[in-house]
């Protein structure tokens, strides 16, 4: 009976925390996005409501809630109306598995990573419904782009997480010390709490997987940018090309659902990256034994969880700021370059990472040596990709044509086009010359 009550209290607390966190984070992000961008662009940003305009975080969503619910003529009514919900629901649902602290995890699903990946791919349905239902050409193109983009980037995103799961098979808690459970050791875990636990083993509390899998984090983060439609992958809503993409016809509350959903998605991507690569809640002061010993079981747990949430959120905020930094810096890729980047660059890279990491982890050596070798290989691969590859070959991430070749290619293509034009219709060419 006591267990049931505790479970209910746990559920209520974590659920309220998740919903509260989602809403606060999404609306605060809208404000911080403006403020950070303004800082980088040499302007003030929001200034009038509250100190540094922070009340905008409340007023902005409120304004959207109060607006009239418009539905343009000729839209596919049902599809148009439920698209924002289809988009927003997975965002809320995905918050269930986010491990803010040992206690504040609404559901420590054993299949957390799979659950997150599955939910994040539902978003594309909502976007595509919005694109189709709007009866707008810009929206349709935006929806199509986003379908292609999200399906392409889903693959490297998942493959980038495989490296982490493989690492847990080697450093997982079950494999530690005298209590090693030989049945489960070496299996690997796809539960968020297990992965975090693997990163703060008693002997080595700072073994964040970013040290062992930097390439995994880089690829995951890039794919996260694409999944959340952020610069430089913001093609579905490219405002200079498609006005507002699939959002063109939306306004008021429905638009707000897309808008906040996107920021919620950013939060989730950052939270997952924090949990899987940056050690989750590990950080100075997260030793539960010390606090329990000092303050007793109840207050010790409370203090420990507060510190854990603090570290988790701090790491998330850093990642979110990188999102905003990238947005202020980079231009946007073209649709074909975007696809090429995913299929010819990221996917082979993640597959190579899986094969190399997996192979090295299987070496018949001591565990620290194996891990060291695989980490070295990963760092090497990352540096190779970031620096050497481009310098040596001239190939770039965005284009498979080397920079020194691009001009020649363009010239020959233009010459060919001119020849075709001349062959097809000699009149316009001569008219031009005259």
């Amino acid at each position: 009976m006591n267990d049931v009550v505790q479970n209910i209290i746990h559920f209520v607390i974590t659920f309220l925390f998740a919903v509260f966190f989602l809403m606060t984070a999404a609306s605060l992000l809208v404000w911080s996005e403006r403020k950070v961008q303004a800082f980088m662009q040499d302007r003030w940003g929001p200034l009038h409501y509250g100190p540094q305009g922070i009340l905008l975080a409340i007023l902005d969503p409120m304004k959207l809630l109060l607006k009239e619910d418009l539905k343009p003529k000729g839209t596919d009514s049902i599809v148009f109306r439920i698209a924002p919900m289809v988009f927003f629901a997975p965002v809320v649902t995905a918050f269930v598995v986010l491990p803010f602290s040992p206690y504040l995890t609404a559901s420590a699903l054993g299949t957390g990573i799979i659950y997150y990946v599955a939910l994040s791919s539902i978003d594309v349905v909502g976007i595509f419904m919005a694109g189709w239902g709007s009866n707008n050409k810009y929206a349709l193109i935006g929806g199509l782009r986003s379908a292609a983009q999200m399906i392409s980037y889903e693959l490297p995103l998942v493959l980038a997480l495989v490296g982490v799961v493989m690492l847990t098979s080697v450093v997982g808690q079950d494999c530690v010390g005298t209590q090693a459970n030989l049945n489960t050791c070496g299996v690997g875990s796809i539960s968020f709490t297990q992965v975090i636990a693997a990163q703060m083993r008693p002997g080595v509390p700072w073994l964040w997987f970013v040290l062992l899998q930097p390439l995994g984090l880089a690829v995951y983060y890039i794919c996260g940018l694409a999944e959340t439609n952020r610069t430089p992958f913001d093609l579905p809503e490219a405002e200079s090309e498609l006005v507002a993409g699939y959002l063109t016809e939306y306004s008021g509350l429905r638009w707000a659902m897309f808008f906040l959903g996107e920021y919620g998605n950013m939060t989730i991507v950052s939270a997952v990256a924090t949990a899987l690569f940056l050690g989750g809640w590990s950080g100075p002061g997260t030793a539960i034994d010390f606090w329990v010993g000092l303050l007793g079981p109840f207050w010790g747990n409370v203090v420990f969880n507060i510190i854990a949430v603090f570290w988790f959120v701090t790491k998330m905020v850093v990642l979110l700021l990188v999102f905003q930094w990238i947005r202020a810096t980079l231009p946007r890729l073209r649709a074909d370059q975007l696809m090429r980047f995913a299929w010819l660059y990221l996917i082979p890279l993640t597959l190579a990472n899986i094969i190399i990491t997996g192979g090295l982890l299987l070496l018949p050596l001591d565990r620290p040596v194996r891990m060291g070798i695989s980490a070295a290989a990963n760092w090497l691969l990352l540096i190779l990709v970031l620096v050497t590859f481009r310098r040596v070959t001239g190939l770039s991430a965005a284009s498979t044509i080397p920079s020194w070749l691009r001009r020649q290619v363009a010239t020959t293509a233009a010459a060919k086009a001119a020849a075709t034009r001349a062959a097809q219709s000699p009149e316009p060419a001569s008219a031009g010359r005259r």
Partner: protein, 383 residues
């Protein structure tokens, strides 16, 4: 009112395996965030690929040339300000120069140097807008604000010089309206120093060498030199194709007869080349400004020209190098107070003609990249 485009009737293409895919007509503009004003592009799209593009212009037509015919010569600069609204000073030089040539007036040397200084400042301002909005077109939101921050200083300088930030009405037939106020030259010097030492490298570092920016621009929108000449392109667009044609060099006017201009050229002929030409021209303009300020002669700033003067009968074509190319005025006088005819050759209008040619077979993303790189001003296209 704009003329409706005449589209080819075959709207179906043969796809793979004999499948027919319907083409889509997309009206890009006149209300669109990045058609640089009220340009309307009727695009026939096959998926994301442009099959055909028809620019529709005329949404900003103000009958400028007819207005010239009904105003005294002295009132012309005020109206021509609005033609290429990103470089009003240069427009005014074109109108004033044409009128002076018609009437046989030679403006004082000091006025000529002042014109060069303000023209080059205006060229920097205009190129700043071009480069900044080009970044915005490609999805980079920061360059535009940095560019406008610098442009703001130039507008402030113009405001203290002429009383207007934008439509200055400063360069008049016979000279200029005011002399430099006290301290203006020092302010201008300070701006040029800061611009060339801090802001230009900053902007350069943000865009030039950016992997994505290069991938978006290099090899896109290639214009070969023959094609550029056949379409009568001028300005940075022509020079980016490797042809060093510059009115300031080839048909010098005002103080450009005494100041040597180095035309900036690029060989690549693509969007990347056009961007580079603009960036380098800003540097060149700073140099020209400094030279003109160093050599600034004293004396009068204007000849005593009556407000309602009557040039003798005759006709004249006078062109200046605007930030976008050859800005020419063909002016006919019948001996009265008003021009009999004043035809403005807008560089944007002429440069825009090549757009359908460049867009065929490109992606939607390239439409914006190419349009932005040609750098049109709709006020100059429609007049």
């Amino acid at each position: 009112m704009a003329v409706e485009p005449n589209l080819e009737p075959s709207l179906y293409t043969e796809g793979i395996g004999g499948l027919r895919s319907e083409e889509m007509i997309l009206n890009m503009g006149p209300q669109h965030p990045s058609t640089h004003g009220v340009l309307r592009l009727v695009l026939v799209l096959d998926g994301e690929t442009v099959v055909q593009c028809t620019p529709v212009i005329g949404y900003l037509h103000r009958g400028m040339e007819k207005i010239f015919e009904n105003r005294p010569y002295m009132a012309g600069p005020r109206y021509i300000d609005n033609a290429d609204y990103l470089s009003p000073m240069i427009n005014e030089s074109a109108f004033s120069g044409a009128t002076e040539q018609l009437a046989g007036i030679e403006p004082p040397r000091r006025a000529q140097y002042i014109r060069v200084i303000v023209n080059e400042l205006e060229r920097i301002a205009s190129h700043l807008v071009a480069v900044g909005t080009y970044g915005l077109d490609l999805g980079a939101s920061t360059p535009v604000l940095w560019c406008f921050r610098e442009r703001e200083v130039i507008l402030d300088l113009f405001e203290s010089l002429s009383g207007h930030r934008f439509t200055h009405n400063y360069i008049r037939p016979g000279g200029v309206l005011f002399d430099f106020p006290k301290g203006w030259l020092q302010q201008c010097e300070a701006f040029l120093d800061r611009f060339i030492d801090r802001s230009w490298p900053e902007l350069d570092g943000l865009l030039t060498g950016n992997e994505i920016f290069e991938a978006r621009t290099q090899g896109v929108g290639y214009i070969d030199p023959q094609q550029a000449l056949a379409f009568a392109m001028t300005g940075p667009n022509l020079r980016a194709s490797g042809i060093p044609f510059d009115i300031r060099v080839d048909r010098p006017y005002d103080a450009y007869r005494e100041i040597a201009v180095e035309p900036v050229t690029e060989q690549s002929g693509d969007c990347w080349g056009r961007y580079l030409v603009r960036m380098k021209e800003m540097k060149e303009s700073v140099r020209l400004c400094r030279v003109a300020m160093d050599r600034l002669p004293g004396g009068a700033i204007s000849t005593r020209t009556p407000i309602a003067f009557r040039p003798p009968r005759g006709e004249v074509y006078f062109a200046v190098e605007s930030a976008r190319g050859e800005e020419g005025l063909y002016m006919v006088s019948d001996g009265s107070e008003y021009p009999y005819r004043a035809k403005l050759r807008g560089p944007s209008f002429v440069n825009l003609q090549i757009l359908p040619e460049l867009l065929r077979g490109r992606r939607i993303g390239d439409v914006i990249a190419i349009l932005g790189s040609i750098d049109i001003v709709l006020g100059d296209v429609d007049r």
